[in-house]
Amino acid sequence: MFWGRGALGSAICFAVTLSAWAGTARAEATGVRGGEPERTAVPVDLTRLHVARVVYDSIGGMGEAYYHFEGRLWERWETDYPQAEQNLGKRLNELTRIEAALQPVRRRLTDADLGDFPLLFMSDVGYMRFTTQETDALREYLRNGGFLWADDFWGDAEWASFERFMRQVLPRTRWREVQPSHPLFRMVFEIERMPQIPARSFVDSYSVETAESPWAHRPPAGSLRNASMRGYFDDDGRLMAIATHNTDIADGWEREAYGHWYFERFSTQSYRLGVNVITYVMTH
């Protein structure tokens, strides 16, 4: 999700930023962030599935690297976090035989225990940037069989930015469209086309249009109408990473309680795709 952009947003929200940042810092100090329990020395229960959220740094200032929404300042990486993962975990436990953890987990790519989480989730990656260490760590992670799902970035500029950093990770690999004919779309549920899930701020129960507004994203955004899934395939034809572009799948998880109409129209599509992707990743 993106809320506000560019220099104007930065100027307006500067004062708010300072106070909100201070609040965020306090939350980090107490170890509580968005409902996530404090990290302790107790190892994570790896007998359950954890969809680990990737913590990354972003380019720019207010409206770019971070934004203000619902009374607090958000960094790009934490968009939809942790409610999206918590809701997804519940639905996975209900709909599938996967034993998913309900406690959210977030990691930097350079964390030593990154390998404990063979499925990483990144959101709002349009302003993302990697350090050399992060690039190397992600490359090693993918080579080991780990899987990356990048979600919620819209328009041409955000794709170009994301693609540029990912090219440093796997220079010889190119993104390819994952067509609806791919087995992933029939793994558990039959999905005929890639769903477009907008942030709930862009739609209401009467909306026909599902694309977000170009002005809300990094220019030049181009057309945002077509949602797609693009993939990195390894030398054996196995998917290593997917990028769900021009769609915000995790918002469908996060906002499932927003309203009945939203759940019916968007969350069900998000969960169907989420179940399929995760089941596919855990079997290939």
Binding site: P43, R97, G115, G145
Partner: protein, 739 residues
């Protein structure tokens, strides 16, 4: 000295019987005894009269002393003789066997002279002429068999020593002829693995005299005594060879295994002081499918003068057959994904998996057709028996009906397949697998625990001693270090009950410093069952560098070895023994029901490329066929067995006789030589004493003999006894001051 005192050798007294003059026989003995008693009493009275005042006891002692003297004189007057059989002059034969095996070319001792030279010298320098004066002498050389020939120009160049077989052969060749004795000159280093029972040689009644040549020990000697290697191995897997090294001293030696010129593995073995043998497990990669002729060798240490026994060759058939593995999983989880990845593209293992994705949906992967596993667990024995291994994941026992449970148990026990059960929420005890019949097959007893037996816990893996020797758990070889302790910790564990009596723990996990069984295997019926009490080996892939392949190696190795031990429906075994090759075929149909109505033939191709066809005949066992052939020459033989002329032939290779055992433990085997002589009534001689053999043979009871009486009255021992008796009496009386 003894022989001088008693005039004849001790053996002569053993064979003969002491007789006396006719008047002394029968009641004469009683009369003489009465006479001695009477004389003793008389002497006591007379002595008492002359030696008044001497106590009664001393008088009786003097009387007994004199009675003994008179008794000895009377024995001399009775003309004692030794009656025994002696060889009839000119009527008998003596067979002399000389060992011409290769070990007889080794030094006889410190001198440069060979053992054969020492034996021939003993014959030339007195033994043969003396024997010729006693009987007709027939000389033989022997190695694998005896051959009648002169002893001139013998060469120690034969690859076998069949000592007992050669003696038996000579005894049979003289059957009906007057053979007085067999004399064998040998080092006793027998190499015959099918030697006749030594006790049977005594039935001929001919004494065998053995003459041992060669040293009893070789200082500094190190040799490969044996290499135990599985006949077959899966391709690109770790193979474990058990080497037995015999040694006479302490130190370190380098063990190597080569495939042709290519070095496969090299490891250092420490030889302990005070021990005579050491065992070592040497592991190496089997390589691609095909036949391998492997050479195991020791780098000769300083002081090891006999280097011919530092290498040993073995054949290894690396299977090129693909094995099918059925993986049943009850929930999507990372272990499933990474096991599948480890086996992806494997040349040997074809992994077919069936997974419950939701309560109502299942997902099949890499099945061979639309029908395979379409109904879940195979519904017929034929369909289930098409697999070699079943991997049982986190799948509740109640998901399978009773028939499926019985089929799975029969898959292991009757079909000879392998089962490995993994840990999980619905696995083992928590999955309800503690019920018969499958619970009987598992290597551990499953116990339900309050709160479940499966959970999140960290623990590091440790290889057990049994695991170190098992091909199942050979991660890396020859590179030093322990590849197990450096693996990332496991993240879960399922507690097991007690181990069954036949179970073997190959891997343990250390949880709170307590070692707990992790990988346990056991034979069950014709097959193998195993339990792996974790489902987090995927960390070995995800938490290691990308070029660390231990996770893949572990799973490929584990499943390949389990698959290799699984019984194929058609099996062919070839063994060498007793100079012949045994071919045994087991023929079963797809449901593993033995077929006895088949017709089978074997095409044998020898080292000279010549082929011959032999028929296999049914044996008493159902579905079993056998044939036997005697190889013409040493070398590698190829055997192709065809059943009903339609099925694809089964092929095996076997090496015959090319392994030279002559230099194995090539010291004088005194124990065997003594036993051979003792069992047959002969004697064991040192080569330097061999010239005394003819004198001993003169009194042989075998052959044509005559009864002969040897006088004993003039034995120096008797005259010495008389002198001692009178001297003793004189000393006593002097001591008592009665002289």
């Amino acid at each position: 000295m003894v022989e001088w005192l008693f005039k004849y050798p001790v053996d002569v007294f053993r064979q003969g019987e002491v007789v006396f003059a006719p008047w002394f026989d029968g009641s004469g003995v009683l009369r003489v005894l009465a006479l001695i008693l009477l004389f003793g009493l008389l002497a006591s009275v007379l002595v008492g009269a002359r030696l008044r005042g001497l106590p009664l006891g001393r008088r009786l002692l003097i009387g007994a002393w004199q009675a003994a003297f008179v008794g000895v004189v009377l024995i001399l007057l009775a003309r004692p003789m030794l009656e025994l059989s002696t060889l009839a002059p000119g009527a008998n034969s003596v067979a002399v066997l000389v060992d011409v095996s290769a070990s007889m070319g080794l030094p006889a001792g410190d001198a440069a002279r060979s053992r054969l030279d020492a034996a021939v010298a003993a014959l030339d320098e007195g033994l043969l002429p003396a024997l010729s004066g006693l009987a007709s002498v027939s000389t033989f050389s022997f190695a694998a068999a005896a051959e009648r020939r002169a002893i001139d120009g013998l060469a120690a160049d034969q690859p076998d020593t069949h000592l007992l077989g050669a003696v038996q052969q000579v005894l049979e060749s003289f059957r009906g002829a007057p053979l007085a004795a067999v004399v064998v000159l040998t080092d006793g280093a027998d190499t015959d693995v099918a030697a006749p029972d030594i006790a049977l040689l005594a039935n001929a009644g001919v004494p065998v005299h053995t003459v041992g040549v060669g040293p009893l020990a070789l200082p500094g000697e190190v040799e490969i005594d044996d290499v135990a290697l599985p006949a077959r191995a899966p391709p690109d897997s770790r193979v474990v060879a058990q080497l037995t090294v015999r040694h006479a001293g302490a130190g370190e030696v380098l063990l190597k295994v080569r495939d042709g010129e290519r070095l496969l593995a090299a490891e250092t073995l420490t030889l302990a002081a005070g021990a005579t043998a050491a065992r070592h497990a040497l592991s190496f990669d089997s390589g691609p499918g095909g036949i391998r002729e492997l050479t195991f060798e020791i780098d000769a240490p300083a002081g090891d003068r006999l280097t011919q026994n530092n290498r040993m060759r073995r054949l290894l058939t690396v299977s090129d057959r693909r094995h099918r593995v059925l993986y049943l999983e009850g929930e999507p989880r990372w272990e499933y994904k990474f096991i599948r990845r480890a086996l992806a593209g494997d040349d040997v293992i074809e992994l077919n998996s069936w997974l419950r994705t939701t309560d109502r949906k299942t997902y099949r992967q890499d099945v061979s057709g639309a029908d395979e596993l379409s109904e879940g667990f195979p519904r017929s024995l034929e369909a289930l028996y098409a697999y070699d291994v079943v991997v049982l994941g986190s799948l509740a026992a109640t998901y399978l009906d009773d028939d499926a449970h019985r089929r799975l148990e029969r898959f292991i026990g009757e079909r000879g397949g392998s089962l490995i059960a993994l840990a999980g929420r619905d696995a083992l005890a928590d999955g309800g697998w503690d019920v018969k019949p499958l619970a009987d097959a598992l290597p551990v007893r499953l116990e339900r625990l309050d709160g479940g037996s499966y959970g999140s816990v960290r623990g590091r893996v440790r290889l057990t001693r049994e695991g170190a020797n098992s091909p199942v758990t050979q991660l890396l070889g020859g590179e030093g270090g322990d590849p197990w302790t450096t693996l990332p910790e496991l993240a879960d564990y399922q507690r097991l009950g007690g181990l069954k009596p036949a179970a073997t723990t190959l891997l343990q996990v250390l949880i709170d410093d307590r070692p707990l069984p992790l990988l346990v295997v056991q034979p069950y019926g014709l097959g193998t069952s195993a339990v792996l009490a974790t489902a987090s080996t995927w960390r070995w892939r995800m938490a290691t560098p990308a070029d660390d392949n231990r996770h893949g190696l572990f799973w490929r190795q584990l499943l390949r070895q389990l698959a290799e031990t699984a019984q194929p429906p058609r099996d062919l075994a070839v063994d060498v023994g007793g100079g012949a090759v045994e071919v045994r075929l087991t023929e079963r149909d797809a449901a593993f029901v033995p077929r006895s109505d088949a017709s089978a033939r074997a095409e044998v191709t020898g080292p000279d490329r010549a082929t011959r066809t032999i028929a296999l005949t049914p044996t008493a066992a159902p579905g079993a066929f056998a044939a036997r052939f005697v190889p013409d020459a040493p070398g590698v033989y190829r055997i192709d067995v065809t059943v009903d002329a339609t099925a694809e032939p089964l092929t095996r290779f076997v090496r015959v006789g090319a392994e030279n055992r002559e230099y194995q433990h090539a010291v004088r085997n005194d124990a065997l030589l003594r036993r051979l002589a003792a069992v047959t009534g002969g004697r064991s001689w040192a080569v330097e004493d061999a010239t005394a053999i003819p004198a001993a043979l003169r009194f042989s009871a075998a052959g044509v003999t005559q009864r002969e009486r040897l006088p004993l009255w003039d034995m120096p021992a008797l005259f010495l006894l008389l002198v001692l008796l009178k001297s003793g009496e004189w000393l006593l009386r002097r001591h008592w001051r009665r002289i």
